[in-house]
Point group: C2
Chain length 223, copies 2
Amino acid sequence: MDGKQNIPRPTARRLSLYLRELVVLLSANRTMVSSKQIGALLGLTDAQVRKDLTFVGQFGHSGVGYDVRKLHENLRRILGRDLIWNAALIGAGNIGRALLSYRPFDELNFHITSVFDSDPGSWGLVLNKRTVQPISELETTLENSGVRLGIIAVPSHAAQGVADRLVEYGIDGILNFAPRRLELSTDVIVSNVDFTLSFEQLAFQVAQASHLSPDKEIDDLSR
Amino acid sequence: MDGKQNIPRPTARRLSLYLRELVVLLSANRTMVSSKQIGALLGLTDAQVRKDLTFVGQFGHSGVGYDVRKLHENLRRILGRDLIWNAALIGAGNIGRALLSYRPFDELNFHITSVFDSDPGSWGLVLNKRTVQPISELETTLENSGVRLGIIAVPSHAAQGVADRLVEYGIDGILNFAPRRLELSTDVIVSNVDFTLSFEQLAFQVAQASHLSPDKEIDDLSR
DNA sequence: TTTTGTGAAACGCTTCACAGCG
DNA sequence: CGCTGTGAAGCGTTTCACAAAA
């Protein structure tokens, strides 16, 4: 087998996490690692890790574990991390600016090559070496730019419009920071980053935990 | 029944989304809404919506749908959105600053009441009305502050240390923006926002889609 | 021994399909 | 009728448990 069957979403997510740990192991000069050890690093069972890794191919060694270098290399290839990903950022507000100087992106072959905004006041501003352009220049700038990904960092109400323009241009994928579902006709791939939802889920779980604790006070304080 | 059984995670997530839509419906003065209509707004089936709403309690009306106001009110209560949530932000870098002025939080009863950073250069800075404090003041500032949530927006390598201090203080929940798993001894609730992972998953899916569709040009390598 | 790879069982969530009710 | 609420079926993922390998 060759890891060619469809990879389940939860597995794909974890593969990224495995790759992260493998990078650490590599730079620590570790040569072998077992499923149990990987699992321990991430709070997963060894069985889970092994099952996931069958999608990458099987080159573990019974009694020994996996070759760190080989596993790293294969994971990189499968996850598309051996490619360079150029992205256009739309929205030069607070979130957009944070992304422009977000360090972890630098190590991942992810490059934000251009920045667009609808606010004339921002046009011409140079943020981390990239000049903010009017959004009207989106299509002409992206033409033949090699940009396959779009990052939407505009207010909610403007997100759908931006998405439509990106799709029209022929974008392959969208990273959406607006707390809103994007309605997309074609088979463009979308990944959502929704702070608000994360915050709401956190509050919900905390509220629930408080109610479930032996003392069922509703207007309680922290212990 | 009373909506008291444990709510599955996927359902809890969607309940937040339903609440979002209900707010819109409310402000549009809609009084009734059917599961089918809610589903259409979010790309879900009507059955899914109805099943989810049984966890909120049953007050839908056969042949008519759900009372928007009543549903909204109950969802708010169940999701803990009728409470005020105070949070401490640790890390006044790019992401932290973006969060301090993140508009959507304003409407959610989420308040960042204090900001801490380890960089002396940032101490005393006033960001959106909040003064950056040295992280050494974390414990004394939070004491009796009503803060139950912590937001970690520091570099990866510092995240675990910050988490440990928050746990020691007695925090109830942590919103973690560092692309790293937090190891937490106690039953503190964590919600992760991992840009990097989202970006990686997007790239993976796009790469996979390209390989699967014959028409896409592949600047491929390796095998 | 230790650890992989994997069928099979268990689990959890979604979808189906329909009785019941206004 | 139209729409809810819900058992039951279906499906995808995780966990179990063990033969095989070194």
